[in-house]
Structures are given as structure tokens and as C-alpha cells.
């Protein structure tokens, strides 16, 4: 088994699909300027690359602005209820391993009301690709604090500032044993495309956090480090097997000091590339990925890219294997025999 294949039983006879084939006839109704437009566009662009026919692709969502996503994809789509998309997807994937299933969710949907389902779908390695739009706010309900809102943030529901500490979505995904964990940014379109492409090709639970701007209720949430002028200095693009270098001059890096990451400058104090951490997305243990998931501006550059990509058997494969083994061992079930199992007796005419 390799991770780099998907349910790509494409029918060769049909013409290759293009981005347009994935655009539905429904009018897109997000606020003008919303980061969701870019996420939708990148998803529509990468879909043809998988070679999976449209009818074999399903988008499932919960509630929130992200919940509308399936209506705009010309595939099968299911707009579920708040937080439950991973559970719906688990049931679907359990009976239909042949489908490519995407879950589109938000920070409130995935981490608040649906926290339990995210946790358990990840630990089961259900073969779903979760795209979590993180705008650090409740948008559809018009501006309340979310589980990723900064501590002390003033919102409609927290006029004196939130007193709840935020959680890092990727730390949660890693703690839940997700086998693919990545982060990208709505406006970094090429990087986002590449990240979605990797997620789509992963077999197992993929969790992608997309930093997404809500220009109405939380405008500029990530601007300090995602804007074009500063992003090279304030973000760290992870690449497997490469030393962790960032900065416009490519002269900064991440070094391990004790149990903590440390930002260092190459050439200063004798620091060389050899001193830097080398990214390993395939590490079986989660320590490096967990450490990276805790790094955040302004203490550290914000890492983007693939934090973790490992191979483990999927939930549907394990489920099927138990059935196959039972049948191989004792043959297919016979209802009449099952009815009469155990003690029976006959009453005559």
C-alpha cells in the first residue's frame, strides 16, 4: 500500500476533467472578499488532477460559512448539521470505500460543536480529507468568539474580551492521531493548491487547516504574517527532508535548544545549516510535528505545509478485512443456519 494513490479508478474512456467540470450551477453566496472563494477555487482546480470521476467524489460539510461549500462543487454533496460532518462521512466511507470523501468545516464546526467527531474520525484513520477553514471567529452567526479566537479577543459575545484560551487545530489533529496534517493560507493560492493535492492523495485521515480571512467579522486575522510583504520573514514553509530555513534572505532557521525550538540566524554565532532542524513529515512519532504545531507568530515564524504524512491502515480497510477474514475462515453467512443456531426443537402437526 502506498499513500500516494487514491480511489482513482478513473474510467479512461472519458475525457479528462477540467476545473469547470467541478463548478456547480449554484450561485456562490459568501460575502465579497471572503477567503472561502479562494479555497473553493483551489479545490476546483486540483480536483481534476486526482483522476477520480466526479460521481465518485463527495463533499460533506457542517454548519457555518464553510458549510455552503458542497453546493458549489459539481460533485455529490451533503450539507449536514453542525459539527457532524465527520460522523456522516465515517458512515458513508464505511459502506462506500470506493468514494473520495472530503469534509469541509470551520473552526467552530470542527473544534467546538464537532470536536468529538473530529477527534474520533482522526483516531480511526477514516479515509476522509478534512479542510478546516480557520478564521478565528463565528462568521455565519455574525461575530462571536470561536475556539481559535485569541485570548482576550473582544467580540459580540465577549465584549470584555474572551476568557477562554484558544487551541491550535493542528495540535488537536496530531493528538487525535491524524495521519496527514497540514496548514496553508487562503491567499497563498499555489501553496494551498499543492497542499490540497497532497491531502487528496493521502489515504487515511487528512486534516488541513486553511488560515482564512473573514473580512467582515475578523478582518486581517492573519495579516501580520501572511501579507506578501512580510510572509517570507514570518512564515516557515515546511519541506520534507529539508532544513527549516526561512526569511527573505533565506538566512534564518529553526534550531532545537533543549526541548524548545529556537530561531537562529545563519552565519551568526557560528550557526550553520547543519545546526538546523530537518523536517521529517514521515516520522512515526509525533514530537516534531507537535512542536511545529505550537509555533506561532510573533514568537516564531508560522509553519505551513505538511507537518505529518504517515501510512496506517484506514478504518474502512480494517472493517472490510474483518469481514473478509470471517468469510475466508467460515464461509459466507447462511441466514437459515443462523436462525437455527443453538438449541432448537420441533413441534409436529
Amino acid at each position: 500500500m502506498t499513500t500516494e494513490t487514491t480511489a482513482s479508478e478513473a474510467t479512461p474512456a472519458r475525457p479528462a476533467l477540467t476545473r469547470k467540470d467541478f463548478v456547480s450551477d449554484q450561485e456562490v453566496r459568501w460575502c465579497p472578499g471572503c477567503g472561502d472563494y479562494s479555497i473553493l477555487a483551489q479545490a476546483q482546480k486540483v480536483m481534476p488532477d486526482f483522476g477520480v470521476p466526479r460521481e465518485k467524489i463527495v463533499f460533506i460539510s457542517g454548519i457555518g460559512c464553510s458549510g455552503r461549500f458542497p453546493y458549489y462543487m459539481n460533485t455529490y454533496g451533503f450539507h449536514g448539521i453542525h459539527g457532524r460532518a465527520p460522523a456522516i462521512a465515517t458512515g458513508l466511507k464505511a459502506v462506500r470505500p470506493d468514494l473520495m470523501v472530503w469534509v469541509v468545516t470551520g473552526d467552530g464546526d470542527a473544534l467546538s460543536i464537532g470536536g468529538n467527531h473530529i477527534l474520533h474520525s482522526m483516531r480511526r484513520n477514516v479515509d476522509i480529507k478534512v479542510v478546516m477553514h480557520n478564521n478565528r471567529i463565528y462568521g455565519l452567526t455574525k461575530g462571536q468568539a470561536s475556539p481559535t479566537s485569541e485570548f482576550g479577543k473582544r467580540t459580540k459575545s465577549s465584549p470584555f474580551g474572551t476568557i477562554d484560551r484558544p487551541i491550535q487545530p493542528l495540535t488537536v489533529a496530531l493528538a487525535a492521531e491524524a495521519t496527514f496534517v497540514a496548514r496553508s493560507v487562503d491567499t497563498h493560492t499555489e501553496h494551498l493548491q499543492a497542499t490540497l493535492e497532497r491531502a487528496g492523495r493521502h489515504r487515511g485521515s487528512a486534516f488541513v487547516e486553511v488560515l482564512q480571512n473573514c473580512n467582515i467579522f475578523n478582518d486581517g486575522a492573519f495579516r501580520e504574517f501572511t501579507d506578501r510583504e512580510v510572509r517570507d520573514d514570518r512564515m516557515l514553509v515546511l519541506e520534507h527532508g529539508k532544513p527549516m530555513i526561512f526569511g527573505r534572505e533565506r538566512n534564518k532557521g529553526i534550531r532545537l535548544r533543549g526541548l524548545h525550538p529556537e530561531v537562529v540566524t545563519l552565519g551568526e554565532d557560528g550557526v550553520t545549516e547543519a545546526d538546523l532542524l530537518v523536517h521529517d513529515e514521515r516520522a512515526e512519532d509525533p514530537y516534531l510535528a507537535l512542536m511545529l504545531s505550537r509555533m506561532w507568530w510573533p514568537d516564531y515564524p508560522v509553519p505551513v505545509g505538511v507537518f505529518r504524512a504517515i501510512e496506517r491502515p484506514t478504518h474502512d480497510a480494517l472493517l472490510q478485512a474483518q469481514i473478509d477474514e470471517a468469510i475466508a475462515r467460515s464461509g459466507e453467512g447462511d441466514l437459515a443456519a443462523l436462525f437455527a443456531a443453538g438449541d432448537t426443537w420441533t413441534v409436529g402437526e
Binding site: P53, L99, N116, G333, L335, T346
Partner: protein, 622 residues
């Protein structure tokens, strides 16, 4: 059969006997009861069982809350209930005696483990004096048997610990009851070999205990008589014993096979529904996919996901879990997907009494969701009938593309009775094909007769579409906030469920087509009502019984049936939920009989209440 001195022990032939094993929850009373049941079933009696156990796995030994009981009634004729009052009580300790004594009629036999009546155990059961010596049991026939001592002697020399020895005494008691009721030891001996074959000393100890109990009955001269209940004259066929939960699991498996769909069962552990998950999870060879979900909501949602994918989506729970499933169940109402929810009702509200029975989720099943949310509800009446109504629930779900609630209860779930094994060829054809033709496809186009929408499963080329919890435009299924459309869709959803009335059997009446009293029931009250009605009819009363298995919609003739009797009595283990529905739907003066004790009605209670009404119904006779 002779006693030690060669004198024959007389065997009295009886029509029906009810016995109850009672002891500490760690005493193995459920096991003793189940073994007695197996043997009795194979022997060919009709039977009905009622296990009654505490929610605590092991309450403090000897305490009143820790008492576990198992009642079985067996007969030479058709019976419908586990019996009102035990003829024989086996009480393994003072607490078991104390909690069960109120259920015994005068003259009943009590077999006590006299070894357990120590000052310490008497104190735990809050006895101030020893009931075995203080004369308080005068109204009963008490047989004191030093079960612990006799049993310890029987298993001596096997190198067991004192604890292990003590654990075998239930088999001594069982052996004694086998002797008293003239049953073979063979089925239990074989079971012991199967169960403990890998631990020969334990198997041997249990066998010795069983035989010692049997031999004690034969030799002790304690019992001057033994009893014989001949096999029942049931309808011809092959039978097995089955509990409601087993029949439910088998029924849904069978329904999936009949409909040629994969069965997907998602569930979160909850008493008393967990056994359905346990059972279905062993059906791997049948391709059954089970999923122990992270919570009740996930179980409901996953069942919906499976139904969306073209499988038979099933979930099961009890009352508290139903509450959690409400929102997702409404998603199935809105998306019109075929899922079935099993609710094995238990005493509530809140956590209530998890192992005790109740019928109090009826209104919740019908109305316990936000907004106008119609869905069909079915309820089997007996453990064996759970099989048939599982198939019926699936038939309706698939034919009408709707979620269905299947109401069982703790009494049905854990109670057992003989089940006539059906011939597969006699079972109904159910199911529907997937929609595949893009030319005729619209997500919410409806079948003109059933109003069902098409089942268009992912993977079907050309049918790519989106569904969800938002209101749908009629036919196209696109999101719609149009006021007239919402009104139309609300009516369509209601009408679809209402039309199922055209597709279910009429309500059958047992007894005269009109008369003084109709007793109407649903669910597990069937046996007590039917037997009470038999007795009333035998006494010359114009009384009939009608039992509803379809609770939404009701059979078309329900109103007509109700109006054919002067009075209507609705016994329910709730405060009158079906009565409320009957009064609301049919404007009839139905009267309730409502006992909410966590246990089933007794036959005599219903009979007495009916007599009371019949007395009132004929003032002219005074």
C-alpha cells in the same frame, strides 16, 4: 422415579408454572435462569421469561439493591407473559427473600439457602429477626436447604478456592429445580463442557454442583412431590428460544438481506440496547458493518451517512440516547433518507432506571424533534415479534424513503419466548432500486403513490447533486427560503408519512367486534392484556383486545374499532401517552391504566381494572 427408600415420588401434572431465581447480582441467578429456560424450551414448553437485575454490575454483596432475579413461566399451552406471581421462589440470601416476598401469593414455595441467613446477612437486608424462625413466613411453604454447605461438600477435592466454590452454588440450586420440575440435566451439562472445557476443574465443579442439587431433591425427602409440565401444543414448526434483542438483531440482518442492501449498524453503548450491537458485531460473515460510535449523535449521523451511500443505515439506543439523536434524526427527515432508529425504552426521565422497563418514549418518538417532523413509528409486541417488526421498519423506510423509529423496551429486549423459525421463502420482498437515469432525475421528484424521493447514491454518473438540512425547493432540491415552497414541503413530508396508513394491515380485534370494553395496548403490554382478556372472555364478559403495532400512522380502521365499544381502556407503562394520541386523533373517551414502576403489568392488575370498568359500565344492573 423413586426416593432413596425405593418409594415412588409422585409427579403432579401442571398446566403452568412460574418460578423465580433470586440472589446477589454476583450469584449467577441470570445464568441459572437462562439454563432453566434453555432446557425448558428444548423440552417443548411454551415459555416467557423476565430477567430483573440491578444496573450495578456488583452492588455490595447481600444488600437489597444488589438483588438480581430471573423469572420464567412455562406451560403446556400458549402463554403470553412471564407470570404474575411465582409459584416457587429460590432465594439465595435474606436480601433476595425480602425484595421478592411481596410478589409471592400465599401458599407459594420458597426454597432458601439457609446457610446465607447469618446475622450479618440478615442485618444487610434490614431484618430485625430471622424470617426463617420468627413465624413471618407462615403463609408460605418454606424449604430450608443449606445450599452453600451441601455444595461445598459436593465440589470438595477439586482444589478450588473458597470463592470459586461459592460461585458454583447457583448450579446446585438449578439442579434442585431441574429435579423438582422433572427436567433433564443434559443440555446444561453440555453447556458447561462448551463453556468451561478449557478449565476442566471448573467444569467438573459446576457439573458436580448441578448433579448434587438434583440428587438432593431426589434423596432429601424435603419435597413430597415433584411436578411435570407437559410440552405445549404450539403451531407446528421448528422453534428456538429468543430474546427481544436477539430477534431485533436477526430481524434487521434479515431485512437487509431481503432488501439486498449492506447493513450498517452504528451505536453507542447503552443499557438495555447494547446487546443488539454485541449481536450484530458477530455477523461479520454476513457482511454486517458495525460501528461503535464516539457518541449517540455520531451513531445517528453515521447511519445517515451509510444510508446516503446506499446501505441500510441503522442505529440503536435507549431513551437518553434518543434525546441526543433528535437533531440528526431530523436531518434524515429533511434529506428523506432511509434509516431506522431502534429505541429500547427504559425507565426515565434522565438516566432513570437503566435496567427497568417503561413505555414512555412514545410521544418522544413521534414529536421529540424541532419543527414539523413526521416519521413512522412501529412497535413489536413480544420478543419474537421483534423479528417481524424489524423487517417491517425497514420495509417502510425503504419504500417511503424515510427514517423510522422502532420502539422496543427493556422487558421485550431481555425477555425471551419460543420463536418459530421462519422459512426464508415466506418472508416478504422489500426494498427499492437505486435511481440511475439522469434523464428522469430530480433529487426531490416524488413517486406519485408513495411520495418517496429517488435514492440517488454517490457513484452514479450524471446524478451529482447536493442535499442537506436546509429547506429544499420542491422537485429540484435546491436550497429554498420561498414561503409557499416551505408550506408545500411541510405538507408533503406529512402526507408521505400519512399515506403509509394505506399500506399497513388493519387493526385486528381479538374478541367480539363490538361490546362493553375494548382494551387497547401497544408494545410489551401485549401478553398481560391478552391473558386478562382471555380470562374476562372466559368469564362471559364482552371484552376485546386490540394491539397497535403501527403507532404512526395508525391503521386506517383504528377509529372505527375504537367506536365499536362502550368503553376503552388503555393500559400503558407511562402516564397515558397512547391514550392522549387516541383521544386527540379519534375524539374517543379512552381511559388510562397507568403504572410506572419499571416493571411490566401483571395480568391480574389489568383484569381487575377491566372488571372495575365493566362494573361501572352497567349501572342498570344494580
Amino acid at each position: 422415579m423413586t426416593d432413596l427408600k425405593g418409594r415412588p415420588v409422585p409427579a403432579h401434572e401442571l398446566e403452568r408454572v412460574t418460578i423465580r431465581f433470586a440472589g446477589d447480582s454476583g450469584d449467577g441467578m441470570q445464568l441459572a435462569g437462562m439454563q432453566f429456560t434453555r432446557t425448558t424450551a428444548v423440552y417443548g414448553n411454551d415459555l416467557s421469561t423476565y430477567p430483573d437485575f440491578p444496573a450495578e454490575i456488583r452492588a455490595p454483596a447481600g444488600s437489597l439493591p444488589g438483588v438480581s432475579g430471573f423469572q420464567i413461566s412455562f406451560a403446556a399451552s400458549d402463554i403470553y407473559t412471564p407470570g404474575d406471581e411465582p409459584d416457587v421462589l429460590v432465594a439465595m440470601n435474606p436480601a433476595a427473600l425480602k425484595t421478592n416476598l411481596p410478589d409471592l401469593p400465599p401458599g407459594a414455595a420458597i426454597i432458601v439457602n439457609s446457610d446465607a441467613f447469618t446475622p450479618q446477612n440478615l442485618a444487610k437486608a434490614a431484618y430485625t429477626s430471622n424470617p426463617l424462625t420468627d413465624g413471618s413466613l407462615k403463609a408460605y411453604r418454606v424449604f430450608e436447604v443449606p445450599i452453600s454447605t451441601l455444595n461445598a461438600r459436593a465440589v470438595e477435592g477439586l482444589g478450588l478456592t473458597a470463592k470459586q466454590v461459592d460461585l458454583t452454588k447457583n448450579f446446585f440450586a438449578l439442579g434442585l429445580m431441574f429435579w423438582l420440575y422433572d427436567r433433564s440435566l443434559e443440555p446444561t451439562l453440555q453447556w458447561i463442557d462448551r463453556k468451561f472445557g478449557h478449565r476442566p476443574e471448573i467444569a467438573e465443579a459446576n457439573k458436580r454442583a448441578l448433579r448434587a442439587g438434583y440428587n438432593f431433591g431426589e434423596t432429601a425427602e424435603l419435597f413430597h412431590t415433584r411436578y411435570h409440565v407437559p410440552p405445549a401444543r404450539l403451531a407446528p414448526g421448528r422453534y428456538r428460544n429468543i430474546t427481544g434483542n436477539e430477534a431485533t438483531a436477526l430481524g434487521f440482518l434479515t431485512a437487509a438481506k431481503l432488501a439486498r442492501r449492506d447493513l450498517f449498524y452504528a451505536s453507542y453503548p447503552i443499557t438495555p440496547a447494547s446487546d443488539i450491537l454485541h449481536e450484530l458485531s458477530t455477523y461479520k460473515r454476513f457482511g454486517v458493518r458495525t460501528f461503535q460510535a464516539e457518541d449517540e449523535i455520531a451513531a445517528m449521523s453515521a447511519a445517515i451517512g451509510a444510508a446516503y451511500g446506499g446501505a441500510l443505515g441503522l442505529t440503536g439506543t435507549s431513551g437518553p440516547g434518543m434525546a441526543l439523536k433528535s437533531e440528526a434524526l431530523n436531518l434524515a427527515v429533511m434529506t428523506e433518507l432511509p434509516v431506522v432508529v431502534i429505541d429500547v425504552q427504559r425507565a426515565g426521565p434522565s438516566t432513570g432506571m437503566p435496567t427497568k422497563t417503561e413505555q414512555s418514549d412514545l410521544l418522544f418518538a413521534l414529536f421529540g424533534r424541532n419543527a414539523e417532523s413526521p416519521l413512522p413509528v412501529v412497535a413489536p409486541a413480544t420478543p419474537a415479534e421483534c423479528f417481524d417488526y424489524a423487517i417491517e421498519a425497514v420495509r417502510i423506510a425503504l419504500k417511503y424513503m424515510t427514517p423510522v423509529v422502532y420502539l422496543s423496551d427493556a422487558f421485550l429486549a431481555t425477555g425471551a419466548e419460543p420463536w418459530r423459525i421462519p422459512d426464508l421463502a415466506d418472508l416478504p420482498t422489500i426494498g427499492r432500486p437505486n435511481h440511475t437515469d439522469p434523464a428522469t432525475f430530480a433529487p426531490y421528484a416524488r413517486d406519485p403513490e408513495t411520495l418517496a424521493r429517488p435514492w440517488a447514491v454517490p457513484g452514479t454518473p450524471g446524478l451529482e447533486h447536493r442535499i442537506g438540512g436546509l429547506e429544499k425547493a420542491d422537485v429540484t432540491g435546491n436550497v429554498s427560503y420561498d414561503p409557499e415552497n416551505h408550506h408545500r414541503m411541510t405538507l408533503l413530508r406529512a402526507e408521505k408519512v400519512a399515506r403509509i396508513a394505506n399500506d399497513i394491515p388493519d387493526l385486528q380485534v381479538y374478541g367480539p367486534a363490538e361490546g362493553d370494553l375494548l382494551i387497547v395496548g401497544w408494545g410489551s403490554t401485549f401478553g398481560a392484556i391478552r391473558t386478562a382478556v382471555d380470562r374476562l372472555q372466559a368469564a362471559g364478559q364482552r371484552v376485546a383486545h386490540a394491539h397497535l403495532r403501527h403507532l404512526n400512522p395508525f391503521p386506517r380502521n383504528t377509529g372505527e374499532v375504537l367506536r365499536s365499544y362502550r368503553r376503552i381502556l388503555v393500559p400503558e407503562v407511562n402516564l397515558g401517552q397512547l391514550r392522549l394520541l387516541l383521544r386527540a386523533h379519534f375524539l374517543v373517551d379512552a381511559e388510562g391504566f397507568n403504572l410506572v414502576r419499571g416493571k411490566p403489568f401483571k395480568i391480574a392488575e389489568i383484569e381487575a381494572r377491566a372488571q372495575e370498568l365493566l362494573g361501572q359500565a352497567r349501572p342498570s344492573r344494580r
